[in-house]
Amino acid sequence: MKPAIKVENLTKYYGKFLALEKIDFEVREGEIFGFLGPNGAGKTTTQKILTGILKPSGGQVSILGYDMEKDPYNAKRFTGIVPDETNAYVDMNAWDNLTLIGELYGMPKKNIEVKAKELLEIFQLYDRRKDRVKGFSKGMKRRLILSMGLIHNPRILFLDEPTSGLDVQSTRLIRKMITDLNREGVTVFLTTHDIEEANQMCDRVAIIYQGKIAAIDRPENLKKAVKAAQSIEVSFHRQVEIIKELEDLPEVDEVRKQGDKIRLFTREPGKVIRPLVEYAHKNRLEFLTLNTLGPSLEEVFVKLTEDKESVAGV
């Protein structure tokens, strides 16, 4: 089966600045693929090249087997795009914005009308369809942009920070829509800062840092790979004033106090439990909770980018 997106040796220079350095990855059809990275890492540049907005300095991008450079018409035909900034035509109304996109993708008029009505109803904008977008709230504009990205029934949906800065209601609506679409077979390329969003929604995640791919895997595999970020979370019946003794326990790399809990970071959680129980007994402490925790995706992200920084000598 052809990958939905195939990226080979993708390189992008802005003048002399190297924004992307020979990156490779594939996105399988039907998966939600998260693209994570700190600001300036190359996330948006990658997405803009994948959607044919920017031209790469080198390498190849193919969308459903169509080369973006050689056959941009077909490569673009199957993609829907929801950019990070609201870029609907604010001087036009919601309905006209939707029909414009439908017409640009060559849809028949009747199909545009049916689909536009359906999407505006789903995104709770139908009653405001004749209002100029200028007067819409941020959440409404975001929902409209998502509708515009979906009007032509794309097979691949590119989303750049889709829920950034939105209220809870809009965020939930958009996340539900994304998972529903994915269930119907739409491949989703999700660029996000929100690591928890990626953790919850993505089948696989790529972490990009300084224009290079730091890691690609399933979120849980990435968490397993970063052993140093495993920890034991413990809380006692009373406050522990001195945590130095905990740091001296065997196999404990670091101790952090987080609210009324203490986290002991270790590569070997099993070997820490017994000394910890002895420590509690010696200090007459009673356990309220004792949990072993894997790293969060955020910790994986920080760890991977820190490693890259130290390798680069930053």
Partner: protein, 257 residues
């Protein structure tokens, strides 16, 4: 490949019409268009004509020519900087249409605007000032061809990859204003000094004014055939040069999106 030959041209025309429809909805009533495309030529012409005994065969062709020139070349330079600033250009570039289709749509919108607005001074000339319309088909063809030619010129003017419409409007006046003084708008080419008669053929507006004068029964320096050929030639050159310049500047423009 998805698009080849005839179907590719058809798709390009369909795409350009979609873009033009969008431009007409958004840009026709934008203040810079109304100021630089309608009011500016009107006041410029009034300052020339009011209080002077300008002959009818100079007044009406000049009025039509200057209006057509300014209106047809005023919409298209505004669109790309505006769309760059609001990032709506991203929507268009990521759609399965080429950059030239987007440009052609913008040219079309400007072309239609030029035709519509030029009817105002023409109506005024015919029904208020009492000018005689001798060759109606020539007038119509002249307005259509000239409007397209000036829209293509406007497309060239919009090539710098800025997101500031005001910068482009200033740049546009820097190019357009000198042209009106060498194009027989205020003084017919035949009455110009020798140096004026040498440089007048370099301006497409000269041929528009000459054709309008001919259609209204006035004396002209060039035959209508030459004028039509020259306007068509200018149109093709402006169109090709505009596409080439935008091809060069577009990567820089999209970096700002």
């Amino acid at each position: 490949m998805f698009k080849d030959g005839e179907s590719r041209i058809k798709t390009m025309i369909q795409g350009a019409l979609v873009i033009a429809k969008k431009d007409m909805k958004i840009y026709y009533l934008k203040p810079p268009v109304l100021i630089f495309g309608v009011l500016f030529p009107l006041f410029l012409f009034l300052s020339f004509a009011v209080g002077r005994n300008v002959p009818l065969d100079t007044l009406v062709p000049g009025m039509v020519g200057i209006t057509l020139f300014f209106t047809a070349s005023s919409v298209v330079p505004l669109i790309l900087p505006w769309e760059t600033r609001l990032k709506t250009l991203e929507l268009l570039i990521s759609a399965p249409i080429g950059v030239n289709t987007i440009l052609l749509g913008d040219i079309l919108a400007s072309f239609i605007f030029g035709i519509i607005i030029s009817l105002l001074p023409l109506t005024l000339g015919l029904f208020v000032f009492g000018a005689n319309l001798v060759y109606f088909p020539i007038l119509v063809l002249n307005i259509i061809l000239s409007s397209f030619c000036f829209s293509c010129l406007g497309n060239i003017i919009s090539f710098p990859p800025t997101s500031e419409p005001s910068q482009i409007m200033m740049f546009s006046n820097l190019i357009r204003l000198p042209l009106i003084f060498i194009s027989g708008i205020f003084i017919p080419v035949s009455e110009m000094p020798a140096w004026g008669r040498i440089i007048a053929p370099l301006s497409p507006l000269t041929y528009t004014t000459e054709l309008t004068r001919f259609a209204l029964g006035g004396q002209t320096s060039y035959s209508p055939y030459i004028s039509f050929v020259m306007i068509a030639l200018f149109s093709v050159v402006f169109l090709v040069v505009g596409f080439a310049l935008h091809k060069k500047s577009m990567p820089k423009r999209v970096q700002n999106l």
